[in-house]
């Protein structure tokens, strides 16, 4: 190939990539989010203030961390409905272990290990006993709620720990969003640049092809359940430290659906085989901007749910049609 031809080829490649980038579901969400931010800033001068950006970052962080797990599960055609209950359970596990005399950092690790164990149990039931994960985790949702209420006796508790630890874990205003961004960065690399991520996509895209290629399907699926529960527990701990108290009814289905919605709005296919972590981040930012913007505008929570529902529908419709434009067939 001559140098000119090579350069032309590279130029074509760049154009194709730029075009492909614009057609990516995340791109439309970024555009919509930017438009929303401009609208809210014009409608309400307080939107882009330091105080509100703190609030906004706190709205965004938890769903985004949850989304990182759910996106991995959705891509390999599974879902975890119980992650919001693990979110509520984790801080109580930490407090109980701490009350037994374990220092707080170790208590945090113990709580996370217990959450990982819950994910492992979900995975083993789903894969080993062939129960659809929708059903497994629906059962776990109620089971873990009961467990949390039993452990807490229904009462809130206070978080322990010195200023440095609690600062890192959520008391510092931006700590939760920093956690979220670090986890997004790590999970993006896992999904796009490791065998684990590639195999997760392959399983969701064509499970027979994945099996024929010798991919360890069960190991990957169970691993993603463990990952999701652990991230759910971590998010619960971060929120508990930020608020300074532990609520047995924190998180729940609401945070789980916000996480799933962030992923889906950002282009993760409910039918599996496609999705990006960055999409989950921008989806989460869009939901956060909506929630925060409406709060500033004084629009009530009921209206918010209507808007969230509509936003998810619109995003889904847009994604399906963008996928058709990309030539990837039905999404």
């Amino acid at each position: 190939m001559s140098r000119d031809a090579a350069q032309a080829g590279r130029h074509d490649g760049l154009t194709r990539r730029a075009y492909g980038l614009l057609l990516r579901p995340e791109a439309s969400v970024v555009v919509v989010s930017a438009a929303l931010i401009i609208y809210f800033e014009l409608a309400n001068q307080n939107f882009l203030t330091n105080a509100n950006i703190q609030t906004l970052s706190q709205f965004v962080a938890a769903p985004v961390i949850i989304a990182c797990g759910e996106i991995m599960l959705l891509i390999c055609r599974e879902i975890d409905l119980s992650v919001g209950q693990v979110f509520a359970l984790a801080p109580f596990l930490m407090e109980n272990v701490h009350d037994f005399g374990l220092p707080v950092p170790l208590a945090i690790l113990a709580a996370l290990a217990a959450c990982a164990l819950i994910g492992l149990i979900i995975g083993l039931i789903t894969i080993g006993l062939r129960v659809p994960s929708f059903i497994t985790t629906l059962g776990m949702l109620f089971l873990i709620t009961g467990l949390t209420l039993t452990i807490s006796r229904g009462y809130p508790a206070n978080t322990a720990g010195g200023p440095l630890l609690t600062g890192i874990m959520g008391v510092w205003a931006y700590s939760e969003i920093v956690w979220a961004l670090v986890i997004v960065a790590i999970m993006h690399v896992v999904l796009r640049h490791t065998r684990w991520g590639l195999h997760t996509v392959a399983i969701g895209g064509n499970i027979i092809a994945a099996a024929e290629a010798g991919i360890a399907i069960n190991r990957i699926k169970i691993g993603n359940f463990v990952l999701t529960s652990t991230l759910g527990g971590l998010t619960g701990l971060l929120e508990a430290f930020r608020v300074g108290s532990i609520d047995p009814l924190a998180g729940g289905s609401n945070i789980m659906f916000l996480g799933v919605a962030s992923g889906v709005i950002g282009g993760t296919a409910i039918a599996g085989g496609a999705g990006t972590i960055i999409g989950g981040l921008v989806g989460g930012i869009m939901l956060g901007v909506l929630q925060d913007g409406f709060t500033l505008q004084g629009i009530n929570a009921f209206t918010f749910d209507i808007v969230i529902g509509a936003a998810i529908l619109i995003a889904m419709i847009a994604n399906i049609h963008l996928a058709r434009l990309r030539g990837g067939g039905p999404a």
Binding site: H193, L198, E212, G328
Partner: protein, 254 residues
Amino acid sequence: MSGTTEAIRAENVVKTFGTITALAGVSLAVNWGETLGILGDNGAGKSTLIKILTGYHQPDSGHIFVDGRPVQLASVDDARALGIECVYQDLALVNGLSIYHNMFLNRELLHGGPLRLLNHREMRRRAAEALAEIGVDIPSVEVEAGALSGGQRQAIAVARAVYSKARILLLDEPLAAMGAREARLIIELIERLRPRGDIAIVMIAHNYAQTLEICDRVVLMQHGEITFESEAAATSAEELLEIVRREYRAVRTG
């Protein structure tokens, strides 16, 4: 290559699925440098046999020998470790992944270092090279497999098997879902592999004339058994058709 001329041999392989007997005691052997065609109707057990030889299914009874040594093919990885590689009828590519990711699926090239990250660049380069080598014309290896024609998918799947240094290549309907030009490409590829003498090919096919053209030897499978076996040169599409017709008549007259 080892001292034996025999690449792979199956002895009395039986496989049932519930009440259905897919294979009722099948024995066959293929030598290095040989291409064996397996003909037969749908449901004759051809695909089940291939899936056993590639470790995807395990036989209920019977033995498999590679290089004359008895082997247990408990998984696709086991078979692969012995150099057995398969291209399946259901065109085993993942639509959402690029061509180069498909070519390296579960054999990914990694960067050095503790993170073991995927080496996308090297996989892209080698995939393009491997496809050019066997004359598969694809604009870019970054295209998603879902955007390819049936023939292109098959060509990539065959290229993947060849590239993976398979010694025993199992092809399940390699010419199905193909235009004449693309079928030609695969036929020529198979004919180029044969003279190397270090590869054994087992292919399942429907088209008698094409199979006799490509293969050195053919077997006919009917209801889970091998009912006819011959050198390709010593038989004809007419003779094979006649055997199948006789079977139909026998069924009709009861």
